[in-house]
Structure formats: structure tokens, C-alpha cells
């Protein structure tokens, strides 16, 4: 994901356009683009990353941990409420 930012700025320019031909606003835009990596742009980060395959064991482990944590949380909340009485 680490890319050369200068190369990204150049990639957005049309080939054959000379530096002095660019309007000030376009030059500023190109400079701004140069400072960001390609995968930092909102258009890139808005695209979801692909789903990771989770093995059956991993899914079971995660659900077991989730159920355990919910149970212990309920115990803590019950103890908290009982302590108020």
C-alpha cells in the first residue's frame, strides 16, 4: 500500500502536457494530489475491502468469546444494580 506519491501525481496528468501549460488551479490540484498516496483518497477508502475467510474454528472461537463476554458483562451490570439497592 506504500506507493511513491510523486508517481501518483504524475499519473493524474495527461501525457504531453507541459508544466507551463497548466493553469494555476490545475497546478495546485496536482500538487495536492502529489501529497496523498493513491489509497488515501476518499474514492479509494470508500471502496470496501474484501471479506476475509474465517475458518470454522476461528468463527467458533469468536462466538464463544462473544457469548462469554456478554455473560460476564451481564454479571457486572447485575452486581452494579444490586449494589444500588
Amino acid at each position: 500500500m506504500n506507493r511513491d506519491t510523486r508517481a501518483i501525481g504524475d499519473a493524474h496528468r495527461s501525457p504531453g502536457i507541459r508544466e507551463q501549460d497548466l493553469q494555476p488551479r490545475e497546478r495546485m490540484e496536482d500538487e495536492l494530489i502529489m501529497h496523498l498516496e493513491r489509497d488515501q483518497f476518499v474514492t479509494e477508502t470508500s471502496r470496501p475491502v474484501p471479506r476475509a475467510p474465517l475458518s470454522r474454528r476461528a468463527r467458533t472461537g469468536l462466538w464463544a468469546l462473544r457469548v462469554f463476554v456478554v455473560l460476564v458483562s451481564l454479571m457486572v451490570i447485575y452486581t452494579f444494580i444490586a449494589g444500588l439497592r
Binding site: 500500500m1 506504500n2 506519491t5 493524474h12 488551479r25 490545475e26 495546485m28 490540484e29 500538487e31 495536492l32 494530489i33 502529489m34 501529497h35 496523498l36 498516496e37 489509497d39 488515501q40 483518497f41 476518499v42 474514492t43 479509494e44 477508502t45 470496501p48 475491502v49 474484501p50 471479506r51 476475509a52 474465517l54 469468536l62 468469546l65 462473544r66 462469554f68 463476554v69 460476564v72 458483562s73 454479571m75 457486572v76 451490570i77 447485575y78 452486581t79 452494579f80 444490586a82 449494589g83 444500588l84
Partner: protein, 455 residues
Amino acid sequence: MATPEVSAPSPLLGRTGLTEEDTARSVDRGRVNHARTHNKRWRLLWLLVGPGILAMLGENDGPSMIAYASDGAQYGLGFFVPFIPLLFWMAYVCQEMCMRVGSVTHRGYGELVLQRYGRVWGWFGAGDLTLTNLVTLVAEFVSIRVGLAFFHLGAGVAVALGLVLVMFTLSGGRYWRWERIVLGMALFNGLFLLAAILVKPHVGTVVSSLDFTPFPGGGFNTLLLLLASTIGATVTPWMIFFQQSASADKGMTPRDIKHGRYDTAAGAVLAAVFGIGALIAGAALLTHNGAGIQGFAGAGFPEALKRVAGSAAGTVFALGLIEAGAVAILTISASTAYAAGECVGVSHSFNTSPRNARVFYAANICIALLAAVVILIPGAPLLSIALNANVLATVLLPVSLVFMVMLANDRALMGTWANRRSTNAIGITVIAFVGLCGAAYGIDSFLQTIHLIGS
């Protein structure tokens, strides 16, 4: 490389699809690139610090500082002086992973869990976060109220102060502005160190406590409560959400990871030193008013310190509580806003204007507002909420940490920046330790409450 100043980003939205978020971030990145190209090392460090220090000092919040001071008041310095740095080292391990994942993927924790492992896990995480954040935010307003009570100011002022700060910091429409304001405020966490100096501790006692002795006395459940609440004062779910999202929002890249580590380590060291400051200040009450945890969680803490160590110590401690609560309100609200925006799938950046990131700004304000309303309810069990906030965070933390380690190990996302074996070994040990302490306290307290075991 030049550092362009952009006053009106809207004309840039057309040609290459740059958004106002991109424009604002690229201006910040321009400064970083300029400092790096011209080998301005201190300037580069100044530009890249932020998320790590904010996560660590944000966690030195009101309930945490009261917990440290209560530990000192009830048990003295032994055990806790080395235990607090150990916990912050654990926090560093977790937070470094968050910073690294945020810098490499440019995405927040909530959205990565949701997209990578499914909506169920993403929403579970967001639910845990909202619950613990709401409870913790109530505790932060309590902390401000306790501090203000020392100056004879009431709950209304505490609520107004907290909400005005949230609105003020959100008003700029820039991540950089928000970060620098909160960073400036967070440095006043050092007031706890000043309070420790003002109580004139015996240096020999502080040094001799570095060998983890004397071990705190009391029953098994009290010890578990101390462990769970002290862990909850150091590592919490909101820190994970916050630092990863803030690192992405700041625009950090893999080239900045070294400085991200400096930032996180500096935050951990400062937080540990200031936490020990609160502990030492609290320990001044050990031989005088020696009351239990419940007694010292109230508004009497700065007052008790004033009687024992003088007016200046009480005043500084009260101001510290106000600062700790205020900074935590800002960082915890921000973590809720990041999580809300990421899970709903809409814009979630301080670099976007409120008009274009309504969910982000609304979540930021609403969670603070909700917590503020709770502390205005007559007869609400505020002190009990404050005491239990850290424990609840500790109990819910292991799930967030497991997904953090999974993300940091995901080679498809992280490439060469994925965790090493040694980092995994430490990370898994931290998860096991936190999980065991939280679960042991929860189960033991529950069994005592339903009278299945004696206290």
C-alpha cells in the same frame, strides 16, 4: 515541495474527484512531506505526533485518576508504582498495532472489522463501544463536577463546560485544528504530577515500592476490583477505535510508522508518569483519612487533600480532575463518532464539514449530550457509575483486542507491516491477562451478590 494554502476547496471537487476531505488532508501531508524532504526532524516529529498522545492521555481520564488516587489512599504506593508503567507498556503494545493498521490501510477499526469479518462483528464492536463510552462519558462529567465542586460550582456548569468544549473543537472543520486544541489541553494532565510534588512525598518510599511490594491487602474480590479497575484505567475499547481512526484521519502512511511509535511511546510514558502522580497524591491520605475506595470517589477527594497537604495541592488536584474529564469527553466522543460513521458507511472525518458528515458530527455531539443529561437527573447513582465504568471497559475489552490482533496479522491488508511473532505473543498474553482479570472480578462479584460464595 511547496505547501499550498487552500481557502476554497469546493472548486477542486470536479476534475479529479478530490473531496474537501482529500484537500484538507493533502495540505497537512504537504507540510509533512516538506519537513521530510528538507530533513527538519523536529518539525516532522511535531507534525506527526497526536493520536498516540491523545489516546494515552485521554485514557488518563477522571475515573482513572480517581482510581489511581484511591489505590494510593487505600494501599499506599507499593505494587502500584511499578504496576502502572507495566499496564501502560501493555497499552503501548495494543495502541502501536492500532496506529500501524490505521497508517497502512487508511481505514478505521470499525469499518475494517465490519468489512473484513462481517456486519455482525462490526456492529457488536460498535455496540460495546457505545455502551462503554456512554458509561465512561457520564463518569467524565462526574469528574468535572467533582473538580468544580471544590470551587463551589454545580452540575450545570460541568455540563455547560463539557458541551461547549465539544462544540468549540468541532467548529473548525479540520482534523489538524481539533487535534492541536485537544493536545494542548491534554498536556495539563501534568497537573497530577504537580499535585504529587505538592504533597512532598518521601522519595525513598517511592523508590522502594518499585519491587512490587508491599502487595495490597484486603480480600480476594477487592484485589480483583483493583486489578480490573486499574487495567480499565489504562486500556479500553475506545482507545482502539480512536487511535486507528485518528491515524487514518490524520493521513498517516507507512513512512510515518516510526514517528507513530514515538508518539504512542511518548503518550504511554507521560500517562504513566502522570498516573503515578495521582497515585502519590492519593497516598498522602493513607495515614490520615484512610477511608476505602467508595469514600474517596466522592467530591471529598480534593477537599481531603487540601486538609492534609494544603490548599495548593487540593486546588491542583481539582483542576486536574476537570482537565482529565474534559479531554476524555472530547476523545471519547470522537471515537464514538468515528465508529458511527464507519459502521453506517458515511463520511467520518474531522476534515469534512458538518454538512457533508452529518452522522459523524451528530454522533459526536449526541453521545456527549446524552451523558450530560444523565448527570443532571436528580438522584442518579453517579458515583457508582464512575466506579464501574473502568470495570465494564475491562470486561468488554478482550473482543476488541482479538480483532485488533487479527487485523494486524492480516497480510492481505498489512503486507510486510503485519505483526511479528514476538508482537503476537505479547498481544495474546495481554488479551489473556485482561480477560482473566475482568472475568474473575465479574464472576466473583456476581457469586457474592447472589450469596453463592462469601465475601
